[in-house]
């Protein structure tokens, strides 16, 4: 083969790679990081509530009913995009939505929620982000679905959108209810 074709050949390979990348991205969320926690018990947590920091919420308190945990922070841009969606959908999930305020100043979070509305049944705070490490939180926003046995059934990284809710989250919630029936 003509050696001068080598640059072209290398470039052609690159183009194929990019093509694969584009196709892959269309079928996957680019930020999807497979969570080893799905199907495993959610980590035990014991965190202060935002409104009443003296009161703590423990994982044990929630056993027996499924719930959603939504990791958010007042400093996070994407959370601002997600927020209206949560406001619209929170009461339609059929399971309580728990806000997980991640590495945030409590004052900021309270101000943020009073300004934009509070979609959460309750909000717990993790100022240092220690428990978030156990949850494998990759960045806010993230959403976890935990079943009545305390096992993580579904996880979404990035803002929830109506499409994601319709395509993934609601089926996952429906499946929980089927199993329990």
């Amino acid at each position: 083969m003509n050696a001068r074709l080598i640059p072209f050949a290398v470039f052609a390979l690159l183009v194929v790679l990019f093509g694969v990348g584009i196709v892959w991205n269309e079928h996957h969320d680019a930020r999807y990081v497979p969570s080893p926690l799905i199907g495993k018990a959610a980590p035990a947590f014991d965190l202060p509530r935002l409104e009443t920091p003296s009161q703590h919420l423990r994982k044990a308190d929630l056993l027996g009913k499924p719930y959603l945990i939504n990791v958010f922070a007042s400093w996070c841009f994407a959370c601002g995009d997600e927020h209206p969606v949560l406001m619209a959908y929170a009461h339609r999930f059929g399971v309580p939505l728990i806000g997980y305020d991640y590495k945030d100043a409590p004052g900021d979070a309270t101000a943020w929620l009073s300004q934009h509305g509070n979609p959460y049944a309750m909000v717990i705070t993790d100022k240092q982000g220690q428990t978030a490490i156990d949850f494998g939180v990759y960045g806010a926003p993230e959403t976890f679905l935990v079943d009545r046995q305390g096992v993580i059934r579904y996880k979404h990284i990035g803002p929830l959108t109506p499409e994601v809710i319709a395509r993934e989250l609601q089926p996952a919630i429906a499946k929980l209810n089927e199993v329990s029936r």
């Binding site: 790679l17 991205n25 841009f77 601002g80």
Partner: protein
Amino acid sequence: MIPELGQLALILALLLSALQCALPIFGAWRNAKPLMATARSLVVGQFVFVALAFGILTYAFMVQDFSVAYVAQNSNLELPWWYRFSAVWGAHEGSLLLWVLILDVWTLAVAAFGGKLPEKFYARVLGVLGFIAFGFLLFSLATSNPFTRLIPAPMDGVDLNPVLQDPGLIMHPPVLYMGYVGFSVAFAFAIAALLGGELQSSWVRWSRPWTNVAWGFLSAGIVAGSWWAYSELGWGGWWFWDPVENASFMPWLVGTALIHAQAVTDKRGGLRAWTLLLAIFAFSLSLLGTFLVRSGVLTSVHSFAADPKRGVFILGFLAVVVGGSLLLYAGRARYVAGGKPFALASRETLILIGNLMLSVSAATVLLGTLYPLLGEALNIGRISVGPPYFGFLFMLLMTPLVLAMPFAPLSRWGKADAVIWRRALQRIVMLALIAGIIAFALSVHRWMGLLGVTASTYVIAGTAFYAIKRWKEAPRGRRYPLEMLGMLFGHFGVGVFIAGAILTRTLSIEQDVALSPGQVVHVGNYDFRFDGVGERHGPNWLAQQGTVEVSKNGALVTVLHPQKRTYPRGQVQTEASIHPGVFGDLYVSLGDPLGPSTGAAGSSGAWAVRVYDKPFVRWIWAGGLLMMLGGFCAAADKRFRLRRSEEAQAHDPAGIPVSVIQPVQQQA
């Protein structure tokens, strides 16, 4: 109505760019003078319409026309006018328009200053540039129209991302684009040469000043971006090996190789095929960078809206432009003859070493940037590599380059000269070692810091050695032609940069501390006293502003005011406060309020504060600016002024008769 005019202007520009590509190239092929002669007016026409579209978009921002979706997305009523101006290129659609505008500025400059180029060559160059403009205008109109309406218009717009509301970001994109779009000119020259089969080295001489100017702008643009990241992101870092940074750095690396390879081709006729290839690569990497950033194939902290349709379009365009050029190269490059043979210790060899290292570095950066993609394609999951990978490999690859650098100017073209080598080596190495010992005595105790001092002294002393030698040997008045002066600035810049980069890395002291008002923290040789936090109003933000008094041995050095700004949509942005200095910056940024009394009444409480002492950090950017100066300086050399083409070929100021630099050529 006015935005529709903008849209119309873009469509007209698209049509003109199609003609600007087709007519001159066809004319050059058929030797039809009237067709070739259209190039100049088409360039002007296309520029006028693109400028009009850009002006209209700017106007829409100035009058806050929120019925234009792009304006509604990136501006709001409270945004000060100067950020409304820079918001024009604050997101994808507008920055694409800026891209085309800058391409047209370059094209216009070529059309204006290239009038003395051979007619066919001139026509082809403008035609190739027209094709690139065509692709980007089509891209803009088909997938990223900045004039799309939003009806009904919202009462207020969203906002320009607060991260972008910084003076650095007004300058950074235009300067950066001047750089990597500027490589389109060298590219167009190379393609025009390949198309015309005009593979003498004359095209290289003509393209050299353009390449140097583009490279200078690119250096400045990267510096501006780095400075922005440093002052705005609040982490005190200046380079993150982020895909978007890499996208601008790869063309810079190849561009650096290109300006050196062009010098060899210009003066000795050697490396011709390689120069052609580099000219293609430099611009291809600019396009590739655009693709990586715009398609969302890679995710990055510079989160531009990703749209698969855009990705497919740019990939297609990339395939046509780069694939086409490389095929053309494969077909035509065999007519390229080699230059004169050269000895092992000659200047050619050293430049070749530099070229090799720069190209391999660019490939390494590309590979690192593409790892996540490779992982997907090979189905082993998303993997990504971080600064340790890049930093280590980059240092490794740059070592031979740095070692070779002072010797390239000292060596002779073609021949080895052992005497100069030995003399230079003794002095340079001795100076470098002395500097290392002094640094050690001044308490730089980490091997990396010592390495930085020695390497930097080595480069600076080596360059100075050459400057002195030249001063002594060359006749007065001809000591430093601008081209050489450019080289000196550029090489000094590298030395200064090395010192900055490595010393900042090894000597920086960074502390995250919780401070209550009145509390003092000792960092480096300085005492930082935190005097609490107050409120401050800006044009469109409300800030919690801290006051930090910095003193050294009891004497007040400066008072810093780091801020935490809250913008209208609730986004919070940290503004570091920096006390700049030649030998180091003091840098304070405000974290979160701590302790029980937080929130609005936080003024009395403790805050998390980041305090940095960053020695020599400014040298990084000073080095970059010196390189920029070098690029501009070299481009201004009168050797590159165009004369009538025959004249230009008949005489070579380097003193080598043309018959020698252009040996047997049509052997293939």
